[in-house]
């Protein structure tokens, strides 16, 4: 049984401009100890997917319209607030994109670090602080004993993200959701943070959901990859297979736009066109207007994930029907 099993999750935002179908029928699972990477452009619904499971969607305007998210036998979407609170921060922890705004500027790092322990465990403050210092040391914050008394603004971005990680992992959760943990950091720090997460994961056998809009980041860390476009999963499978044997044109386009894989001096590739307006219902495949392989048939009908023998699924009908065969990375 998977650690987390999400089925047909739908989260809509009811705003003045209409209904935004931010997440529209997303299903996936995460096994114990594995890393699932979620990729997709900005606005594709990666964050909303995870926030929905954690009960972090602002309601209103958001509303979870349907689906279930079974974690350890409990449906996170329908359980009581109390039950959900006892799971988040203890068994499922989360780190966020912007470490500059995700820590409370009015509270000492110490008080924020020990909070998950104070909430979820029967522990004295002194013991909690001891644990907090240990966990800061574990994530590589120098002079932890002294720095723990500081306020967040006294840390650099990279150090703050380390503090966030220490805070998330202090209760030894079974699942860590990392929502673009490195997007706000510069490249050298990015690599360090990703490595840190990978190491801690190996040590503890914890599962990780790693969200990024950069396929390159996810490919290096994930066991499996899920590609999202316009609130739907368009392709999912083992990392190697998704990377070397793309089965959706959007995945291939994402690969083409990984900066580090492009030839030096060449103009950076960007996917032409814009993602569809999420308040409009799109007929057919949502990616069709931007797809170089699309034909007339792509503009109508229902598009659903279909797996091939290797558990590698795509929603692209043309690859499903073997009308097109995609090559990995256009340059190669």
């Amino acid at each position: 049984m998977p650690l987390l099993d999400v089925r047909n999750l739908r989260t809509y935002f009811h705003t003045r401009g209409g209904i935004t179908r931010a997440v529209d029928g997303v299903s996936f699972h995460v096994d114990k100890g594995e890393t699932l990477g979620i990729v997709g452009e900005s606005g594709s619904g990666k964050s909303v997917t995870c926030y929905s499971m954690m009960g972090l969607i602002p309601q209103p305007p958001g509303r979870i319209e349907g689906g279930e998210a079974i974690f350890g036998g409990t449906d996170l979407l329908s359980c009581s607030d109390e039950e959900l609170r006892s799971i988040r921060g203890r068994r499922v922890a989360m780190i966020f994109q912007d470490p500059m705004t995700s820590l409370n500027p009015f509270m000492r790092v110490e008080d924020q670090l020990i909070e998950p322990l104070m909430i979820h465990q029967d522990i004295s403050k002194a013991d909690a602080i001891k644990r907090a210092i240990e966990s800061l040391e574990e994530v590589g914050v120098p002079e932890a004993e002294k720095r723990i008394r500081s306020y967040p603004h006294e840390f650099s971005g990279g150090m703050r993200q380390r503090v966030m990680i220490a805070m998330a992992l202090i209760t030894k959760p079974e699942l860590l959701i990392a929502d673009e943990p490195t997007t706000a950091l510069d490249v050298t720090v990015q690599a360090q943070i990703l490595e840190l997460i990978a190491n801690l994961q190996k040590e503890r056998g914890m599962a990780v959901v790693l969200i990024s809009h950069d396929l390159g980041v996810v490919a290096g860390a994930a066991d499996r990859i899920m590609v999202m476009y316009s609130g739907k999963v368009v392709e999912t499978g083992e990392t190697e297979s998704v990377f070397y044997n793309p089965r959706h044109p959007y995945n291939r386009a994402l690969q083409k736009s990984i900066p580090s894989l492009q030839q030096k001096g060449e103009e950076l590739y960007t996917i032409p066109g814009m993602p569809p307006d999420p308040t409009q219902i799109v007929e057919g495949c949502a990616f069709a207007p931007r797809c170089e392989f699309a034909d007339e048939a792509c503009k109508s009908g229902l598009y659903e994930l279909k797996a091939s023998a290797s558990e590698h699924a795509t929603s692209c009908k043309r690859t499903q029907n073997k009308e097109i065969i995609l090559t990995p990375n256009a340059n190669g």
Partner: protein, 305 residues
Amino acid sequence: MIRFILIRLLQAIPVLLIISVVTFAMVRTAPGGPFDQEVKMQDEVKAAIEAHYGLDKSAIEQYFVWLGNALQGDLGPSFKYPNRSVHELIGDAFPVSLELGIWAMLVALTLGVGAGLIASTRPNTSRDYLPMSIAMFGICIPRFVMGPLLILVFSIYLQWYNSSGWFFASDRVLPALTMGIYYAAYVARLTRGGMLEVLGQDYIRTARAKGADEKRIIFKHAFKGGMRPVVSFFGPAMANLLAGSFIVESIFQIPGLGRYFIMAAFNRDYFLIQGTVMTYAVLIIVLNLLADILLVWLSPRLRFD
């Protein structure tokens, strides 16, 4: 921090000087004088009195005499109350206004912050609209209506409190409510706004993700940041409260500072005007400074700059 306070206090000196000059000039250029209104005095009597108070000297000379005395704590005599000095009058009245102001402030903070917190935790529901409409009501009702209204209900119908006077502890209730409710309404709106802003911040989401419950979110994570608008409002508002209110003091017959503002101006009681204005100015400066110190203390980021 100490440097910041010192600088602010030094800045206050020119401000107070300018205020004193402007007040002085305005008072002296206003038509009429302190001895003009009642029965017409003989010219030589009037000249003698004016000479006694030093009003025959040039305005500039008069100002410096006043300033010199004021710096030594002598704010001059009152024309209207000839046996008393301005210093004594203010010394008697200020503690009364101070006490009333503090009670009113407590009313304002308890009601205002309470209502604001309730409203901010369920924005755009009846739990938000109800307290906020009451607050709007509180702002719209002038104190000269609120005061008599409270008297009507609590002294005349219910007979719980005296309708006027300042003798018993229970005499504090109605005036404090009259003044407090007005400010409570502002505080409620500021609390709601401040809390809503903070509750929308990323770090509140982080706290939720850690499993914090609503109580913890509001009081541990949001309250400090959310109260900043209230604190900055309270500097000047406190000065108003503590300096007394002419309206409330008149309605309830309270021997406070507020009525001197108006009476002194009507009577052209030169030194009393000058004295009350300077008291008010000092209050505003000190309380704004206190509010700023509190704000800095509330935001760790500012604390170190």
